[in-house]
């Protein structure tokens, strides 16, 4: 046996040796390590989110509060909105939502008192979009109880226009997203609903690994998702039935990604269902026609994992992992399961390639929530962050193979696979009960920072300490009208050396009960040179042969390292244009 053990030891040593070799190769390539600092104390955000009481006893208490990126004051940076929760005793009277103005340098100011409305209902995710075309970001807040639409009046003030807008479904919604789904120029709304829940009649406990635990979602009644058409006059109409959303079996919805998954120019809707197969509503709407969707989650392969199992599916990240031009989807899941990477093979089919990219095993002891792809070290490849924390207060490694408080999982893209980053800096170490997060360059220094909220715990502001002025490019897509606001639905490509170097999608929905960044961020390693261009494809722009993404490009010298460019439907605003559009792109249909 000792010989065998020696062999095993040799194998482990060999693995470490290989890892060391890989690390040296990375260092030789000039990459800097991923490093985050916790700057909460100096940020001006001193906020503990409320989500029931500790320890959690009901499913309503375990999802935590959401976070939204919103430029409420129109100054070009992203501010922060926290819908916040409440308690089982008073679900309508929580401590209230909070709005923080971004002052720059990762400093924020609480401007909640000036909002003009006090929103105190138990809330979860939020969606941001200009619903009325006045040029200001409005807020849709997902609640336990009637949802709320807050119209941005300017000057930091909001008004509740829920009833006037024909919204306010009374169920429990978790996430929502705005996008122009029918090409009429305004933002439609998709609301993800979870379960029917009455705090007054809690169901009996469930069992997990031999222990009595809080019940759900199995055993509850799923609540159908809702699709609202923006009628352009300040009101919305529920078109879930005629548009084909109701034809899908209701799932326990937690999250969504509105993105053009099949590359036909029309934004599709992926709904992450807890314990049930995910839904993929392929957009079949013809411009000018009624909204029409075809549910093809199971057929496409994204509904379940490789083994055909429905997973918990809390967090969603979208990125081009294999570089084929189609948006791939990474989802986070329950403990003793794995997170899952679905490669988008051709726009029609997804394939679970979790193992291929090394993303399965490290996630087994963890229960994942918010997640995002982002090039954290600016080596040109997107890395991956997952925030974790168990739902069961009894969870320990001994009892459930998984602790209640868990550290974030940071995975760096290293060649063909991802590898765990053991020391991502003090900001991403330590165990928490994390839930929602947003990922964005909040201090404008060119790297992606993070704001994360823990369950009944403090909000943390995490600064990316990459701090180099010359190895990034950021792209904003903006066009007149509400549908052009923030370029929702756009595909953004960074070009150089005659090829597409990297690709991002500006999608609606978010990491988990939060909003995805609307600014496309690219790390730009030295090897990519200086002759860079960006290419933006807007949704629903017809070309010959049917609806395909239109191409408006900004090529050449004015897209420089360390620059943020804004691209509208006709080209670049604030930067010059040189040369012709590239003739093709990998993965273009």
């Amino acid at each position: 046996m000792s010989t065998v053990r020696a062999h095993a030891f040799a194998c482990i040593a060999a693995v470490f040796a290989l890892a060391a070799t890989a690390s040296r190769a990375i260092a030789d390539a000039g990459s800097t390590p991923i490093r985050f600092e916790d700057v909460t104390a100096a940020s001006g955000i001193d906020l503990t989110l409320t989500s029931g009481r500790m320890p959690s006893t009901a499913i309503l208490e375990v999802k935590g509060g959401g976070i939204a990126l919103i430029d409420f004051d129109g100054d070009g940076d992203r501010d922060l909105f926290f819908p916040n929760g409440a308690t089982l005793e008073s679900p309508e009277r929580g401590p209230g939502a909070r709005l923080y103005e971004n002052l720059g340098g990762l400093r924020f100011r609480d401007v909640s008192a000036g909002m003009g409305v006090r929103h105190a209902r138990w809330s979860f995710g939020a969606a941001v979009g200009d619903v009325d075309g006045d040029g200001r970001d409005d807020l849709y807040v997902c609640c336990f109880g009637p949802d709320v639409l807050l119209r941005n009046l300017g000057g930091g003030r909001f008004e509740d226009i829920t009833a006037r807008a024909g919204l306010g479904d009374p169920g429990w919604s978790t996430s929502a997203g705005f996008a122009d789904l029918d090409a009429d120029g305004d933002l439609d709304l998709f609301v993800v609903n979870y379960v029917e829940f009455d705090p007054k009649t809690p169901p009996p406990p469930a069992q997990f690994k031999g222990m009595a635990v809080l019940p759900g979602p199995n055993g509850f009644t799923a609540r159908a998702d809702l699709l609202y058409e923006n009628l352009g006059d300040g009101t919305f109409r529920d078109v879930s039935e005629p548009a084909g959303i109701r034809r899908a079996i209701p799932g326990f919805g937690l999250n969504l990604a509105i993105c053009d998954f099949d590359h036909d120019g029309r934004p599709d809707i992926l709904v992450a269902n807890d314990s049930e197969p995910n839904s993929l509503f392929a957009n079949r709407t013809e411009p000018g026609g009624p909204m029409r969707f075809e549910e093809r989650g199971l057929q496409s392969g994204i509904a379940t994992n490789l083994d055909g199992a429905a997973q918990a599916t809390m967090g969603i990240a979208v990125g081009d992992v294999d570089g084929n031009g189609f948006p791939d989807v990474f989802t986070t899941n329950f403990s003793s399961d794995t997170n899952t990477l679905h490669l988008n093979l051709d726009g029609r089919f997804f394939d679970d390639r979790t193992a291929q990219y090394g993303l399965g095993a490290p996630s087994r002891p963890l229960l994942g929530w918010a997640t995002a792809f982002a090039d954290l070290d600016h080596d040109g490849a997107e890395d991956l962050v997952v925030f974790n924390g168990h739902v069961y207060p009894q969870a320990t490694r001994a009892t459930m193979d998984s602790d209640y408080a868990q550290p974030p999982l940071v995975m760096r893209r290293a060649g063909a696979r991802f590898e765990v980053v053991a020391d991502p800096g003090p900001g991403l170490l330590g165990a928490h009960r994390d839930r929602a997060a947003v990922f964005d360059d909040l201090d404008g220094d060119g790297d992606v920072d993070i704001v994360v909220g823990a369950l009944n715990g403090p909000v943390r502001v995490l600064r990316n300490a990459h701090d180099r002025p010359d190895d990034w490019v950021k792209v904003r897509a903006e066009a007149p009208g509400p549908a052009g606001s923030h370029g929702i639905g756009c595909t953004v490509e960074l070009w150089g050396q005659g090829r597409c170097l990297a690709r991002r999608w500006i999608w609606s929905g978010g990491p988990f009960q939060s909003t995805a960044a609307t600014e496309a961020h690219f790390g730009v390693p030295a090897a990519w040179g200086d002759d860079l261009g960006v290419r933006v494809m807007w949704p629903f722009r017809r070309e010959a042969g049917g609806p395909k993404p239109a191409v408006r490009s900004a090529m050449g010298c004015d897209v420089r390292r360390g620059q943020t460019v804004t691209v509208d439907r006709d080209g670049v605003r604030g930067a010059g244009v040189r040369g012709a559009a590239p003739s093709g792109s990998p993965g273009s249909p």
Partner: protein
């Protein structure tokens, strides 16, 4: 299962009770019995092993690991099952996400028992997790070969295990983009074990990918029927 190298006489009463509970699938009762035994004989590493095994069977892998690591410290042949402790250590480490540790344990076990099919299967899973596709195929085929060699009366009892190997070979084929082979392997798996709902799901997926929509729908219906038959309604790891 291959034989052990050394087999001291078992301490009949406690081990028989634990094993009876394990065979009956009452793993909680097995754990209780093993804990009583281990409590009465704290130095008995065989009892320690059975506590670990009963916990492992209840999917409490981290707790099981502590007991199995203690049992693994026993000298070779200290108790009948001791040569197989690394096998269970391997599974616990695998389910806790420790691929390197799992691989080391399974390779240790395979060195002593190269014809232990489940260890070959486990090494196939680890290779697949590492995207070592050729190695994964080799291990799954080896496990299948060992199971088929068992044949005879054991043939029926190994049908499930053979079906699992075939389903995983289908995964390998799918990973390579070889859809016909993936379909062939998934079909063979569900023939061997019609209640293998995972294999039905894999078959449906590969049929969809080939444009065989009606057949895919039928396979998906079979998946649901299989789930119903084994009383495993569609669910995830969470309750």
């Amino acid at each position: 299962m291959a034989g052990s190298r050394a087999a001291p006489l078992p301490q009949a009463a406690p081990v028989d009770g634990v094993r009876a509970s394990l065979r009956a699938g009452d793993f909680a009762a097995a754990e209780q019995a093993a804990r009583r035994w281990a409590g009465a004989e704290p130095a008995n590493l065989r009892a320690t092993f059975y506590v670990g095994l009963a916990l492992h069977k209840q999917k409490r892998h981290a707790e099981a690991l502590a007991f199995l690591e203690r049992a693994d410290a026993a000298p070779d042949g200290a108790f009948a099952e001791s040569p197989h402790v690394p096998h269970y250590l391997g599974w616990c480490r695998y389910y806790l996400g420790d691929l390197s540790g799992a691989c080391a344990a399974f390779e240790q076990h395979a060195a002593g028992f190269p014809e232990y099919d489940d260890t070959q299967f486990a090494l196939g899973l680890i290779a697949f997790d590492r995207d070592e596709v050729d190695e994964a195929e080799r291990r799954f085929r080896r496990a299948l070969e060992l199971l088929e060699r068992a044949g005879g009366d054991a043939g029926a009892t190994t049908a499930r295990e053979r079906a699992k190997c075939l389903a995983r070979l289908g995964d390998v084929a799918l990973r390579r983009g070889d859809l016909p082979s993936a379909e062939r392997d998934a079909r063979a798996a569900v023939v061997l074990w019609p209640d293998h709902h995972e294999a039905w799901a894999k078959l449906a997926r590969v049929l969809d990918r080939q444009g065989k929509t009606a057949e895919a729908a039928a396979a998906r219906a079979e998946q649901q029927a299989a789930l119903a038959r084994i009383d495993a309604a569609p669910r995830k790891a969470a309750p």
